[in-house]
Symmetry: C2
Subunit: 189 residues, 2 copies
Amino acid sequence: MKLLEQRILREGILLEGDVLKVDSFLNHQMDVELLHEMGKEFYTYFKNQNINKILTIESSGIGIAVMAAQFFGCKVVFAKKGNSSNVGNEIYSCKEKSYTRNVEYTVQVSKKYVNENDRVLILDDFLANGEALNALIDICRQANAQVIGCGIAITKTYQPGEKRIQDMGIPVYSLARIREMKNGSIEFE
Amino acid sequence: MKLLEQRILREGILLEGDVLKVDSFLNHQMDVELLHEMGKEFYTYFKNQNINKILTIESSGIGIAVMAAQFFGCKVVFAKKGNSSNVGNEIYSCKEKSYTRNVEYTVQVSKKYVNENDRVLILDDFLANGEALNALIDICRQANAQVIGCGIAITKTYQPGEKRIQDMGIPVYSLARIREMKNGSIEFE
């Protein structure tokens, strides 16, 4: 998606440790017009798949998920990290190791909101190692829900996550696929 | 807002400790059509105030904020809780004590995304003691940004938060104002 790639080139900041900061438009400050276009793009790609639920994970995925859901006309469920006292006892859960923050989370979804009738599109902002997506896919399997595909804003294709998900037979559609980040420059596939 | 009140009566669940669970439509599963109507309602109320930024706090405020921002045509900034390694060093921060979870957070916003030119609408899902709103208002003051008002989905008017904010001279517009929750029933103002 050219619009997103251009924005990454213009505003993205490369930091030590393979970190790409896009917090001026995606995951701290959010450019809602851009999110709208991204939601529309996910809809264009997945619209014939009878998706009836969008699953994401707090917090950065929520904006993208809500925008996309407007096009799909479906509900969003966002998984919670950690031991939220508000989720209740009847939950599906899975461990996730975040490489960015070097901590392990428990990812939780109430059993009430994902079930065997769901055709789920999983959306998130970044795909690198794929730990977060993996946890969400695991939760869908526990619920006997069908994962139709994953939609990602920014995928680092030189990391193992994209291939891991595809090897499970799940389509991954990424709006910007980064092949290399080196010496302050970003190359897309 | 009748639509929200009806939904609370139909799907809200009262738990021990003055907890109202609305996670079937607002803060775990999200009914995006309802969020859209809520965003429109906030716009109708604040549209003549030249608001150019919406500030909220992760995670439950994000969906409401993004929807409202579509109407205002402005950007959203969501404050982060805890010590996020991704925010950077140049931050405004404030302590917040959550009564629901009985923990203290640090609330953080990058200095890049709130400044003295901003006319800010603060949006959140719940107002009870007002700790989260208080932290967001404090951050706006540190940034010399002007807080035009607060928009809240559900306010418990028998708790001190609403009055605390109004006593600062900041208008609070709540879509559902709960006067009492007792014996499994909910009464609105």
